[in-house]
Symmetry: C2
Subunit: 215 residues, 2 copies
Amino acid sequence: MQVEQDLLAKNDRIAAVNRARLDATHTLAVNLMSSPGSGKTTLLCRTLELLKGQTPLAVVEGDQQTSFDADRIRATGVPAHQVNTGAVCHLDASMLLGSFELQAPPEGGILFIENVGNLVCPAGFDLGEHKKVVVVSVTEGEDKPLKYPYMFAKADLVLVNKVDLLPHLDFDLERLMGYLAQIRPEATVLKVSARSGEGMESWLAWLGEARSAIA
Amino acid sequence: MQVEQDLLAKNDRIAAVNRARLDATHTLAVNLMSSPGSGKTTLLCRTLELLKGQTPLAVVEGDQQTSFDADRIRATGVPAHQVNTGAVCHLDASMLLGSFELQAPPEGGILFIENVGNLVCPAGFDLGEHKKVVVVSVTEGEDKPLKYPYMFAKADLVLVNKVDLLPHLDFDLERLMGYLAQIRPEATVLKVSARSGEGMESWLAWLGEARSAIA
């Protein structure tokens, strides 16, 4: 459909502007995407608690409605800019560009962008970020990579969250890993629990490497 | 945006055709919507097992990719038509109309339509169904009704799924109920577990009442 192609081409041009801006301030930008309820915000809050004081940080929060998530982020002491997308099902590059006018990317630090909870639409829109991270929780079923392939096919990192719940679930982690390998063999996969803290060190190490690569 | 309004107006006209067709065969059509991983398919399979033999049944399965869910439905013995939406994030009325050419609505029975796992986009598209059912699982966080208000604002019934996991979660069911009451006080809310069977009788009773209303 022509309308859609024009829209994506425009988005890509704005994404390139964002990327240049982020590179100029040596800011690593990480786009966090997942289903609603995968635990992205809890994981992000825990991450901010561990990084703050050592690394300049900021967050852009995308939600259809409410500023609940931005409020949770601000409670950690890290600045957050809320984008309410209304009827729109994803963040786009112009929304991120607009956020820079109100909240500058943290120089030499990390900008976390928490996308709208949606495994379909955000996959199509480059924001100019350096890394795409998909969070999938073990309560969601093993088949998500095959059912939502566009999302997983672009992931640099997949965080398998809520692993503390595994003893209470009929969840086959090996099956999930096999499906991920089919769709995106290049992605790094880390098991984490924002609640128990399991895997947080590996996730922070991954962020550290990504920062080094753009410094 | 004009394009979007034209699209929705066209969709509504096709939805009206679908509704007339379903009414003519006294088929109750139920549109099941949720996040990815809320347990819709497992809940639906269990529902079909309980209803089959008593009620004519069929399923239309919407997924971005794969026929995993349709295969799970067919394993219950109930016919299923798979719609793969590709890059599209929701079912629309024309997709349902197309399905009728390949799988007739079950006369005097129930047609379950399992929408694409997505709490944003399916809310905008009337399919011509009689009832909209939103499934939300207790692993997803209490704030979903306020964060995805368009979806919850149209729900006739909210099924709160996976309640067997409540002892292992930090989940405040009362808080969820309060938010639901703010967004959609008219909706019926039922707690269910597809795994333990809790609440399935109430859900079947709700379906029975909905069938009586259109017979």
